[in-house]
Symmetry: C2
Subunit: 331 residues, 2 copies
């Protein structure tokens, strides 16, 4: 049995084997495939029905994906997989573990808007010390500020738990949990999506942590941004398209909102030669945008945790035991 690691996954061979015992390591052959194997059928003949593929993306533009035993996505999002083109006999699993680093990234972002450590450091030298000390400009606190989490799943709850420890007021919008009691007893209110603008009007920070679905796509547009207001900040750590690209750019340039942390983008490179820009607008050039390259979850610890889950799932598959995070069961 072969385990194909496609594109970025191939850099985690050590993380994967670290979670395997000798017996398992002897039974499998690990094979790297280039990033193009996610989008191009040229490597499909290598993949046998008994093999496992680890890849964030698998799409042939609608044409059938190769037969395999298991497709293990080494992330949470399934939007890179053409599910309709995947044979129903293929076991499909994903993996989480990213709520920890995403929550840390989100709190770091909110704290940076209030404190501006980078700005504090800039301009403070031994020579300027006496003047700087006398003329210190006070900064802000997240304590008492209002956080609105759009999507109260694993990530939203991880953000909320930490924010609550800082004394932030937590509001959430979630279609499944609306008007129910918060399982972790942190949110002051969980409202349905129809009330997003109303809650945004009370928020200092609007953090996007919901999945991209047909109903979440574009759900943050002109109306919600206007409600968030000139003191409000958008932090998107989920999928770019949940926030309307044009409306966001207009709101940021017009000062309708205070600013944004954008870690997810409207266009991603597909092959190695793809020179696509992250958006049709130059968000990077705006002084009130903190643009990062889809890095919020990207920690060393995340890979260790994720590939440990994948290794355990490969072992379980071989032994016929139950799998973790199985998205659909083979027919």
């Amino acid at each position: 049995m072969r385990v194909f690691l496609v594109g970025e996954a191939s850099t985690h061979r050590d993380d994967l084997t670290a979670g395997m015992d000798t017996h398992l390591r002897d039974r499998i052959e690990i094979v790297d495939l280039p990033r193009e194997a996610a989008h191009d059928s040229v490597h499909d003949h290598l993949i046998a029905p008994d093999d496992i593929v680890v890849s964030l993306r698998m799409n042939r533009g609608g044409a059938p994906l190769p037969r395999m035993r298991m497709l293990h996505v080494p992330g949470a999002g399934l939007d890179g997989i053409d599910l309709k083109a995947l044979d129903p006999d293929v076991v499909l699993c994903n993996v989480f573990e990213h709520e920890i680093p995403i929550a840390e990234f989100t709190l770091a972002s909110m704290l940076e808007w209030e404190i501006d450590l980078a700005g504090m450091k800039r301009g403070f030298t031994p020579e300027t010390w006496p003047d700087i000390y006398r003329e210190r400009v006070p900064h802000g606190e997240i304590h008492g500020k209002v956080l609105l989490v759009l999507g109260y799943g694993r990530i939203g709850q991880a953000v909320a738990a930490r924010a609550a420890a800082f004394g932030m007021v937590v509001l959430a919008v979630d279609p499944m949990l609306a008007d129910k009691a918060d399982p972790q007893n942190v949110a002051a209110e969980i409202a349905p999506p129809a009330r997003l603008a109303e809650l945004a009007a009370r928020a200092d920070y609007l953090v996007v942590t919901c999945p991209l679905t047909e109903s979440s796509r574009g759900s943050i547009g002109r109306t919600v941004l206007k409600a968030l207001g000139s003191e409000g900040v958008v932090i998107n750590v989920s999928r770019a398209e949940i926030v309307d690209e044009d409306d966001l750019y207009v709101a940021l340039t017009a000062g309708t909102i205070r600013g944004a942390n954008l870690d997810v983008w409207y266009r991603y490179p597909k092959g190695s030669d793809d020179r696509v820009t992250p958006s049709q607008h130059d968000f990077h050039a705006l002084p009130n945008v903190r643009a990062t390259p889809h890095s919020s979850a990207w920690t060393r610890e995340l890979s260790h945790r994720r590939y440990a889950v994948i290794a355990a799932n490969i072992a379980a598959l071989i032994r016929g035991e139950p799998l973790r995070n199985q998205v659909r069961t083979a027919r």
Copy 2:
């Protein structure tokens, strides 16, 4: 009755009067004094025994301080006041409220060491996007890391409570609380100062939150820094002299420790013309030092909260009611 606001305090006249009713405002006269009035007796003849002085510092180099009714320090630290030179009839109060911003600053600092948002932003442009996205360098997490708090009072506990929400392991060193149960049930262990080096050896972050006393002065020196080790970071938000100036500089330049956030300094400007440098060493020039100008607590919200307490204490003093944070009772 006059209320003298010395130096920086004079910039908070609005914060002070915001917390006063009309009746109180009519009974007092608020007078600004320059920063020099803290160190120079030239303005002392203005201050009558019935007056109130609000000042972070009061020192005549050993000579007696002027008689007044109350000296209200608008901060927590009393090291700027020559207590022996203050008439025992003077009521002395201080004020806290800074544990919130200091804890936020400390968490922001730890998160920045792990995540490096500033570094993520740098170099990410529309043109570099495809390459940056493919070659993202993973960062770290504070989750699971070990925090050692030196001084488990208001500030240490505020830092610890937030750190625990991130899944950090919290250790504390405190002479008063050693070997007792943590009042907020967060620290895995509270040890006496004699065990500082032992606990430092287990820590990723050593945060200094104790007051400067004869026993805390220089308590972080060569031995503790060596124990902290090349992966360890010192964050000092208390008083510089708790960390030995020479030993810290050597440890930072030699790579004995990973780095430091230094928000407090070895030398402060006294008068307006004082061009003193913050240290005899050029900590600013070191790439592993994040130097900030004693700003960790310096928030807009802090001033609102603190001057509200001072206003309430002035009102209570006039009415003969109990005061908050009275350091010593008039004879």
